[in-house]
Subunit: 153 residues, 2 copies
């Protein structure tokens, strides 16, 4: 299990990859409001954990394991975000900020139960929803319906 701090780094990397096609130290630092040396350290830490490939001055590439972890983290974030925004009615900005913090501490099981619940409450699973944090897609899922909201920050 990597630290919450490292989870933030890998999540940010995944988002940058999706958004701009590549992952750069400076961009990570900007997005996370931290310094480049902090990013550098995190990179080697994630590398040691087999979550990305990297050589000095090279390009950062998430491994399959790293990518799966990033997806899982993002799914968790998304579901918490939707809960806060659409169930508790926090405004968008607050929901984002809060989801950012809260999700860091939840187990997979809790996230799954929350996901199920959100689906039920928002009546998004009227048909045959099989939402699961570990799956990438969900046919009737909130994630897909407002993806822009969730992935981009």
């Amino acid at each position: 299990m990597i630290s919450k701090s490292l989870e933030e780094y890998i999540k940010t990397m995944y988002i940058l990859k999706k958004q701009s096609g590549n992952i750069r130290v400076t961009d990570i630092a900007n997005k996370m409001n931290c310094t480049k040396p902090s990013v550098n350290k995190a990179i080697y830490n994630l590398k040691d954990n087999g979550l990305l490939n990297y050589e000095s001055y090279g390009t950062i590439e998430l491994t399959e394991e790293g990518e799966n972890l990033a997806k899982k983290i993002l799914e968790a974030y998304d579901i918490v975000y939707v809960f806060l925004k659409d169930v508790l009615n926090l405004d968008e900005e607050d929901a984002k900020k809060e989801a950012e913090k809260i999700k860091l501490n939840m187990t997979d099981d809790t996230i799954n139960k929350l996901a199920k619940y959100v689906h039920e409450v928002l009546d998004l699973n009227s048909l045959d929803c099989d939402y699961d944090v570990n799956k990438e897609k969900c046919r009737c899922c909130v994630r897909r319906t407002s993806k822009k909201d969730m992935i981009s920050k």
Copy 2:
């Protein structure tokens, strides 16, 4: 704003006071699975923040401010616990563990909204509930109905 770590200490102190009438270094250490030196440090840190009174080898007494903070932290824990247990249907043990972690990161506003929501969903506020994290009591509140569950761990 004190750190999350210190919040845990002050919460534990408050619980110990309620349960046994006094607050001792060793008991805090046992309850929190940490060492006595860690507790000692936390005590002086909380003292510097005006949250408790203490002299070496003396008795720990929360100030009014400290007590209010502890109550607020516990209320937050309680409401998250109830949400997890009675809304998401986590079993009791899991709900406790998760609430312990999650609540640390939520703002007062979010906690209040969650409290309201839980009250609505569980239909506990059929009359004139005015649940508020900053108040000690809530006439129709989940906290009161299963207090034993929540305060004791």
